[in-house]
């Protein structure tokens, strides 16, 4: 394949990545949130493989396989188990309605393109256009975390941010060194396991996975006890 073709492929994948980030924000049902999350994981693995092929970087193939197994299969499966065990198929209404969320998301994306402009100018890498999209995805993941009430959707938002960071690493730098990537993958895995543990503890303790129910238990200095 020619370099131009690979460049276009990566750009196309970046666009799909942005699509999944928007789709995650728009979903109401837990199951479809998980489906889009898994799709994002697979997309990441494909991107890593394409960049690995384009740059002849063998380490990146290992990352691609790791990503596929961890983010495309294992994490969505774990989360799916959790929602089945805890019977939380429906996400209650988010804090903002979908239209408003989408409009804010649009603004966030434009903002990301704006701040990344100086970086894109100097890059000679074939994947330079994806940096702005990765930044946008990071911010969209955060938006998801602050507009949702359930602990599980917060975690999906968190993992989506992690995905976008990984995308930034492949997209803008052709991948971080393998040691660092294994370290990060290891941390994400442990974090996911701890998250899983927490879900059950939270459910047992609060009878709900609503974040508001938890925060009510924290004493704040200015509240009356």
């Amino acid at each position: 394949m020619s370099a131009a073709l690979i460049q276009q492929l990566v750009d196309g994948l970046a666009a799909l990545m942005l699509l999944t980030s928007f789709a995650l924000l728009a979903q109401h049902r837990m199951l479809s949130v998980l489906n889009w999350f898994a799709a994002q994981g697979v997309l990441l693995a494909v991107t890593a493989a394409v960049v690995a092929y384009g740059t002849d970087n063998n380490e990146l193939y290992i990352s691609a396989v790791m990503t596929f197994l961890l983010k495309g299969l294992l994490l969505p499966w774990l989360l799916w188990r959790v929602i089945r065990e805890l019977h939380v198929h429906r996400e209650v209404e988010p804090l903002m309605n979908t239209t408003l969320t989408m409009l804010v998301a649009l603004g966030v994306t434009l903002f990301a393109f704006h701040i990344i402009q100086p970086i894109e100018k100097i890059s000679q890498l074939m994947t330079r256009d994806s940096m702005a999209i990765a930044t946008a995805c990071v911010l969209l993941g955060m938006l998801m975390m602050i507009t949702r009430r359930k602990a599980i959707t917060q975690v999906v938002g968190f993992l989506a941010v992690e995905n976008s960071l990984f995308f930034a690493a492949i997209g803008s730098t052709n991948g971080m060194p393998l040691v660092v990537e294994i370290g990060i993958a290891f941390d994400v895995l442990i974090a996911a396991l701890i998250f899983g543990l927490f879900f059950f503890q939270i459910r047992d303790t609060f009878d709900s996975l609503e974040v508001d129910a938890m925060n009510a238990h924290l004493i704040h200095g200015d509240d009356e006890e």
Partner: protein, 492 residues
Amino acid sequence: MNMFLATLLSPLIGGILLGLIDHPRLAARINVATGVSTFVFSLLLAVQVLDVKSVDAMGGWFHLDAYNVFLVALTTFVGMTTTIFSGPYMRHELEGGRVDRLRLRLYHSMFQLFQFGMLLGFTSNNIGVLWVSLELATLATVLLVSLYRTPASIAAAWKYFILCGMGIALALFGTVLVYFTSSTVLGHGNEALTWTLLYAHAAELDPAVMSIAFCFLMVGYGTKVGLAPMHAWLPDAHGEGPTPVSAVLSGLLLNLALYALVRCKMLVDGATGTDMAGHIMMGFGLLSLAVAALSLHKQRDIKRMFSFSSIEHMGLMTFAFGIGTTLSSFAALLHMTVHSLVKSGIFFTVGHAAQAMGTQKMSEIRGLIRHHPGIGWGLLIGTAAIAGFPPFGVFTSEFLLFTAALESYPWTTLPLLLGLLVAMAGLFRFVQPMVYGEPAEHAVPVHVNMLPVYVHFALALALGLAIPDFLADWYEQAAALIVSVTPAGGGA
């Protein structure tokens, strides 16, 4: 560098071993033994490193210089005294039924793994590995904060997890941006993330990218330092976790985050050649001081109150590192040392006080001096020390900080002074009635081990009266290292 390996591995081995031991007394002893051995190894390591100024270990994966070896020694020392303190403390919790044997095992094991993560982060020569180990230390403490499994502790741990996870994700994004520009200079591979090589080529990094990267690193690591306005997790995590955990969170983990931030600042300064990074740090520092000083007055929970004092002092250090002169860096390092010593000492005392009174509510803790003179005096002396009274070390470092601020940015002394005064008033407003006053009826006798507390305070006092020559040299070397963009030792 066998001492290095011994220092790094003993908490790891201890942690794995402690995960297998069910007997509480034996586990507590092994915990202490691990703490002591780690400290002894790190002291020997520090002596070696001070002789040669800076050294690479394990084929360049680790780098030791005056700056980080000093923090390693501090970390292992506070770690050691915390293990000594936690023995009787956790036994009391076990007898009171707040933890069971399984969770006690988890506690011991995670505590040592946390130490391992800390030491790995300090000594690593790789900006990516530093990130990974900070995350590792964070994950270990998340489990520790939720150890009691009360609704409040789970909620606090969740908040800690999500907020710090978010913060640390931003720091990773900043790291990716650093790699983005450094890989064009140093090539793709670990070299482009190696501190020593990065410093040597700092001037070649792209200033625009490094500025954006610093914003992400600042907010990311700043969250972990507990700087306002990203500090929301800190009082909850300190208030709800077991006291030994509050002590190491405040005394150690915040230091590692600040260490990472300062390393990044050194790099960004070298790339941009401006004071941008320093100014941002000064701003966050002053804001944290102001927010913490005011919030202190509104607290009801004793551990929460002292955690706001930690935010205040981390703000001071960030401010001092932000000024960026040799004097201010010296002051910041000294302040880091005395704050770690005094604050962990205070948390030990507070832990005993809360156990004796059966509550963490300040309004119900009364007359400590009459009931438990040891605890009462400990709290009083500790508060005087942390509030910056002479002759304690905090006074010395704050005095140096003022001098440095007066030299470079005279106008900042006014908000600094105001913040310190308001914070001091807040501390004494609450501590006075707890120490004096009529003893409460619900007090119970507890087995108290005040030795670690007095050792900490005595060291802080000694540092305030006269800093030993070797230590002063050490600080000077470290401060010079921080200020000079390319390390004078030339470890690369």
